[in-house]
Symmetry: C2
Subunit: 455 residues, 2 copies
């Protein structure tokens, strides 16, 4: 990254950096649409009441007020009709589903790629304005478990298509964990989950203390809970490991069965990308089954780059429930890391493949004709604004990163020069094409770029 | 439009409506990139000081504050370091250019497609949250006038590619108008422009009164100013009409020459799309030459759907000036009109072209294999979640608007059914392709749709 943001927590990209971000967004969109997810956007703004429905999170929310308010406009901070910026895409999506249930057909599959805002203290991997890319499937009344499996596979495919390091989806199941805690006699399962969620931060000894001090767990209960959280397998062998702990509970069985289905499918269809990790808890309390976090291998300290899970009752309308399962990719976190560590880069900084040079100042119209012919065949083309010396026009193209310059002689002969190699050939505007690698901007991982240079 | 927004002024689209918006956005992006414009985004948030730099517009601005502010955090409304949502993309772009001047190469061509917010009273064609699509070319120190011509042609090409009614760019030039006013002895040219700007709203008689009452114009001066504003030509004949008014002024000559270049190029390269309209003033005071407004023919009451012009000093850094020329398309205004009047529609409401049906509940894996093969060739495909009766699975596809259902017999034979025609054929997952019109969602004007049905 060349610069620091002029406003802390609000990153902005240079054009060549934005091309990397665009590549990430286009790739995600393509994969999501290939899997039948429809695009929606929700407004950036929710009522404060809507955002605080789930409690907890008010600290991070940006409230809105018009700088010059009308007399009598209600805008108290405690006012639940006041407006605020959304802090994720799940809460707005839940509202959207309820409001539009009569116009949607279920199971409703949607992707949503938008900015969200949180007033947290900015740090690496955590911005105040950032882009999320979410997919969810939502049912009306019920939603087959199979969608949990499918969502994990779609995300593994989407992440595999990005110019990022290897990654691992770490998957657990709330039913499995809650059933297990009940089975060993710990009834405040939310409390246990909250403590287990701190495992990576404070270590097992302190978690054991927490479980004993705050939840009244015995030594043996604390140890069992920690043993469960220590299970991490690349295949379905976690099932045997859990059973070996000798705990019996119906909800545990249901969770084991669900997680086994996810891992079993992933071993076949996304080998090496998925782990059963029984320490994963997820902070927010609306998850009811599958829970997922994702790390970049070698970048674990960055935190999760894709999280989510199954929620059986995030949205409801009277008696009508809309269960869902979804995952959210932290696009800005990913792109920041790609840029700060040069993990991938764009092949040039402008879309333009060809600059049509001007021979005379009054040949601008003829040059526009050449450009129009090139564009009609999908070749991004600019026309020089002034008939400067060719050397200057070539320098102009070079400075902007444009690979080809087009010349038209007074006798109507066209030539095109690859200004990187200096090679110049006679060409016709109706037929000439640059190599595929030059037609559009390419974004490739640093490895691939190095490989191409060495090849 | 099926519904009204649940929050007035904050429209949200249903999935099939969003497809129309996406088509508009994709089309604009494609045209902009073909002309060598690079994508950037700026943060949604500016400091209040930055936004108020140009005065006037504070009434419409949404200020931000964290719902739970830290002790001592500065957030007074008068505080110029406080944050607010941007109300257009020009002011943020000017800041971006100044901040990043060292990393950009000039003339810098960028497009920017983002949401903006204004706290105005919502009405048809005017939302509180809406999307703009801007293109600008910005120079370092100077910017050849030719870019004024080019920007108008790019926008005419972009709008021509959209599923919208015919449109007219109405173009004027501030130098022409200001030079003329000076030439007839009216020195408060900004005041005259403000009055002329009201022409369409209050009519010529009232504008004449304004000019006399507020600017001390004589009858004759007011009549001359109105005669100028009455000139509207589809070619460069406006030049002779202005000259016939017998006013002489250097700035006027410069403006006449500039506008003549724009109209002359447009007559050749965008015939019928552009007018010289000498009544166009544009409210904001930073324009210094070309000014543009755009109307949809037959929808003039909607207001301008694309506006902008030349500004010689929007951005500066010490003595360094960054002149620019740009136009901004009101995407939400356009899309709202397309949807509310059924001017165009999507061929289906989901990206999915094929639903792979399940023969047995345990054939989900095999069905996913079929789906993966179809997707690898770019065919958006979903897999059914349950092995219900085929009739039910077909109904499911029908309800979601998916045109094809894929069946795999127990003997491994594949068949695909077009559920609109009922036609069913034997097919192979490695080779079958739907017709191009079914592969991706098509968005077409209502006329084109009607034509296709009748054909």
């Amino acid at each position: 990254m060349a610069r620091t943001a002029s406003l802390s927590g609000f990153p902005e990209w240079l054009p060549e950096e934005r091309l990397v971000e665009l590549h990430v967004l286009d790739t995600l969109r393509r994969v999501f649409e290939l899997h039948g997810f429809a695009s929606i956007e929700t407004r950036a703004v929710e009522t404060v009441g809507q955002l605080l429905r789930k409690g907890e999170i008010d600290k991070e929310v940006y409230g809105l007020s018009r700088l010059q308010e009308d007399e009598g406009e209600a805008k108290g901070k405690g006012d639940h009709h006041a407006l605020a910026l959304h802090f994720d895409l799940t809460v707005p999506f839940a509202r959207y589903v309820v409001e539009n249930a009569g116009y949607l057909s279920f199971p409703f599959r949607r992707y949503q790629i938008q900015k969200v805002w949180r007033g947290e203290r900015p740090q690496e991997g955590r911005a105040r304005e950032f882009t999320q890319a979410d997919i969810d499937v939502v049912g009306d009344g019920e939603l087959p478990f199979r969608y949990d499996v499918e969502i994990a596979l779609v995300i593994a495919e989407a992440l595999s298509a990005l110019p990022i390091p290897d990654f691992r989806l770490r998957i657990n199941n709330r039913k499995l964990a809650e059933g297990f805690y009940r089975g060993i006699g710990l009834e405040d399962t939310a409390g246990v989950l909250r403590s287990i969620d701190k495992l990576e931060k404070i270590g097992p000894a302190k978690v054991a203390e927490l479980l004993k001090a705050e939840l009244g767990a015995t030594d043996e209960q604390a140890q069992k809970a920690l043993q469960l959280a220590g299970i991490r397998t690349e295949d379905t062998s976690f099932v045997a490991q859990v059973r070996a702990l000798g705990v019996s509970n119906d909800l545990l069985e249901e969770g084991l069965n669900e997680l086994e289905q996810v891992i079993d499918a992933a071993v076949q269809r996304a080998p090496g990308k998925v782990l059963a990790d029984l320490s994963i808890a997820r902070g927010l309390d609306y998850y009811t089954g599958t829970v997922v976090e994702t790390v970049l291998v070698g970048h674990e300290q960055l935190g999760s780059i894709c999280s989510g899970g199954r929620y059986d009752a995030l949205a409801s309308k009277g008696n009508r429930k809309f269960p869902g399962v979804g995952l959210s990719i932290g696009v800005t976190r990913l792109v920041s890391r790609i840029l700060s560590q040069d993990l991938a880069k764009a092949s040039r900084s402008v879309p333009t493949a060809v600059l049509v040079a001007l021979t005379h100042d009054d040949s601008w119209g003829a040059a526009q004709d050449v450009a129009a012919q090139l564009r009609s065949r999908g070749i991004p083309t600019e026309v020089a604004a002034k008939a400067e010396k060719f050397g200057k026009q070539i320098k102009f193209a070079d400075r902007r990163g444009i690979p080809y310059v087009w010349f038209t002689d007074d006798d109507g002969t066209h030539q095109v020069k690859d200004i990187r190699s200096g090679e110049q050939v006679v060409a016709a505007p109706e037929t000439w094409m640059p190599p595929a690698g030059d037609l559009a901007v390419q974004v490739a991982t640093a490895d691939a770029v190095a490989g191409a240079v060495n090849a």
